[in-house]
């Protein structure tokens, strides 16, 4: 099978990969991991054997980057009070810290489902597959997450 040009690959799957990373590591860490994922994918791309499910491949690259970063952090615990590695000049309200802090407090299943659905723009079928649940359960998790978010943010 023929691989699409790398820029087309990124264009097609960037939202899904981004949603996946925000679900796994949260709003603050996702940008760095997104860039790591794109670079990793760029390096490995010509060696991809199976071009039939490139989204799956990209998500597995993203997953590897998440695992690697978690391992690196475990070896090098951060001292309390350190400034964030990549501080953004954007103010907290523009970053919507309030929203993301409530999202971070959601139970894991609800958090993953609602982020994959709305940040990743994935179908309920895709959400169900990625969270290893049924589509009905995915819908319920999203509903519950939204109810909680609306309550906490009103």
């Amino acid at each position: 099978m023929v691989l699409p040009p790398f820029p087309s690959l990124v264009e097609e799957h960037r939202t899904a990969v981004w949603g996946y990373l925000v679900a796994l590591v949260g709003r603050a860490d996702a940008p760095d991991l997104y860039q790591d994922t794109v670079l990793s994918a760029l390096r490995a791309y010509p060696k991809v054997h199976d071009a039939s499910n490139l989204r799956s491949w990209l998500l597995s690259v993203a997953h590897s980057r998440v695992v690697d970063r978690a391992r690196a952090r475990a070896r090098r615990p951060e001292v309390l009070g350190d400034p964030p590695e990549h501080s953004s000049p954007v103010v907290a309200s523009e970053r919507d810290d309030e929203l993301w802090s409530v999202v971070a407090d959601l139970p894991e299943k609800q958090r993953h489902a609602v982020v994959l659905r709305f940040v990743g723009d994935l179908s309920y079928a895709a959400v169900a597959e990625l969270t290893d649940t049924s589509e009905a359960a995915a819908r319920q998790n999203v509903r519950a997450a939204l109810a909680r978010l609306r309550k906490e943010l009103s």
């Binding site: 040009p5 790398f6 820029p7 939202t15 609602v114 940040v119 723009d121």
Partner: protein, 190 residues
Amino acid sequence: MTVESRLQITPPDLDLAVLAEREGLLDVAVGRVDTPVGELIVAATEKGLVRTSWFDEEATMQELSARISPRIFETPTRVDPIRRQLDEYFDGARRQFDVAIDWVLVGQWARKVLAAAARIPYGEVSTYGAVAAEAGSPKAFRAAGTALGQNPVPVVVPCHRVLPAGARTIGQYTGGVHIKEHLLQLEGAI
């Protein structure tokens, strides 16, 4: 704002060409040149100019993605020098191209034929038979025609300077005979 719309944050917009270049993984760089006879797409690997094409950018990128590498990006830097030379050529201010060519897309025989075509001076013409002879196979004028038709770098390698013997017509040209006509007229050959 609804909670749903607040959740719909978009991914960072990465400049992929810059990232690829930094990693040394910009396998093919692509750019465009506006010419009097249409847009010419140009592509270069690290070794040199690998393709010029009268077909649209998307089609060219798909072609090169399949034939060379899917790490292909639209970016000015690597292709700017050849773009400038092509601008000068179409303005009538340049008669010879000073550019390294990456011949990866052609086989040995086609390379010989195209090298023979490249030796035809600006403003002059030759025939398929003469070019075939120069490439070492004087009877293979039809095969020479085919090889010229497969020129991966038209304009820069002047397959347009090759005409059928007898010169009743100007022959064929991938991309359209009107282009071949324009180039020959520009060069003062016809």
